[in-house]
Symmetry: C2
Subunit: 279 residues, 2 copies
Amino acid sequence: MIIAFQGEHGAYSEAATVAHFGETVQPLPCQSFETVFGAVTDGTADRGLIPVENSLAGSIHRNYDLLLRYDLTIVGEVQIRIAHHLIALPGVKLTDVFHVYSHPQALAQCERSLDELLPQAERVPAYDTAGSVKMLREEGNRDGAAIASRRAADYYPMSVLCDDLEDDPENYTRFLILSQEPVVPEGAAKTSIVFSMDNVPGALFKSLAVFALRDIDLTKIESRPLRGTHSSPSGKPWQYFFYIDFAGSVRETACRNALNHLQEITSFFRVLGSYPRGV
Amino acid sequence: MIIAFQGEHGAYSEAATVAHFGETVQPLPCQSFETVFGAVTDGTADRGLIPVENSLAGSIHRNYDLLLRYDLTIVGEVQIRIAHHLIALPGVKLTDVFHVYSHPQALAQCERSLDELLPQAERVPAYDTAGSVKMLREEGNRDGAAIASRRAADYYPMSVLCDDLEDDPENYTRFLILSQEPVVPEGAAKTSIVFSMDNVPGALFKSLAVFALRDIDLTKIESRPLRGTHSSPSGKPWQYFFYIDFAGSVRETACRNALNHLQEITSFFRVLGSYPRGV
């Protein structure tokens, strides 16, 4: 089975792929999120894996946009803790390091640790975390280190100079698994939907009533204002998109009734998928 | 009046500062968001301006964390459209450009335009947009260009090779203005709050009822799961933070009643500020 993900080998997305599918699948590195959607759509990959929210950085709206643009369905979710490691060529010591390479977000998440550990080192922004490790290996760079996943250190292979560099350990990323065909989840399920309503007082309250009246538990809610008519499916200005995840599957009667009820009051509505609840 | 913002002169945050306060204030560049909060807290700056959500990239949870950690209050909001420009030293032509520098997010937001305009150019990630323009100026770099705001081109000063490079024009960032002391908004007001509740079915529905029952309009809602006990104010695992903005001020009786009602059912609650509604 081929699983498309965004990034280089050793990326956090690849770590999530392996956490979910095990080591026997074939991870397929893609340059952009759009390439991941394209690979699943044209059959190059069997599944795609995309990050949708990080506990520190927030939701990745770009991937919600792509979920609306492509005709794929969510078939699973996986959440991993983002543990940043300081990685260098074997034999390189902390005192050798005068440049630290990584994605700006990873550098920012390790700011305090870097100040303590490597006050002498310049921080150099890079496209991605695992890509920085690859670059050090290819260049034979011995005065630099990179911040990336343990998987990146193992892949290239490189040494870990320091574990768990992140200033805040509450750093989790949630990924969705995409497929051409829906699944029938067994056991505890979750459903992701997106809808929009006219911006009138109480509209959101009414939409949540369809779930509350049926004791259906929500696990995520997010509003997103849409300015102008450019991206709005119904073409009306100042509408909102709401992203909601709830416990249950579209196969369950209560959930199906709630969604039918919801469609009575929404101007745009789409089920993104029902899938087994991740851990 | 001194206004602290994150980034170099010419940053989009500085453009937002000037859009809100006019050209007479003194913008104070800060290295990090935390430095902005610190500058307002210790009185180095009169106000701080921080981005909290972008229409494409989503909410910036980091700044909501800092709002909880520091004892400042929101006194205003401003929203600007993010228009990316291709900027180079005067006299440099498109055909001279072999490197394009910017923040990875800005490079990603101009991906298609760059493919058409500069297929030959390598994209080089940098810490920030305006910082890339400053770097080109300081190095006298004539085979590079940067993606940044028009304000950055004017400040250093540099030439704009190409306007509105962004692939999606629906690119808006909302900023909050922070102060030590609250304001009494006149005219249309908005209030931002954060609260948490135990994760029981219908909890969010009940919390929204306090607004719906009083015909108070919500303008933003976002849930954020908190894993473990590390960041959770009440120490309980698997709680959620909810961020809500609503129309009205804490000075209005209906809003005050709604907030009193809300505190009956929340385990953590804080008003982040009431402020005049931005345009």
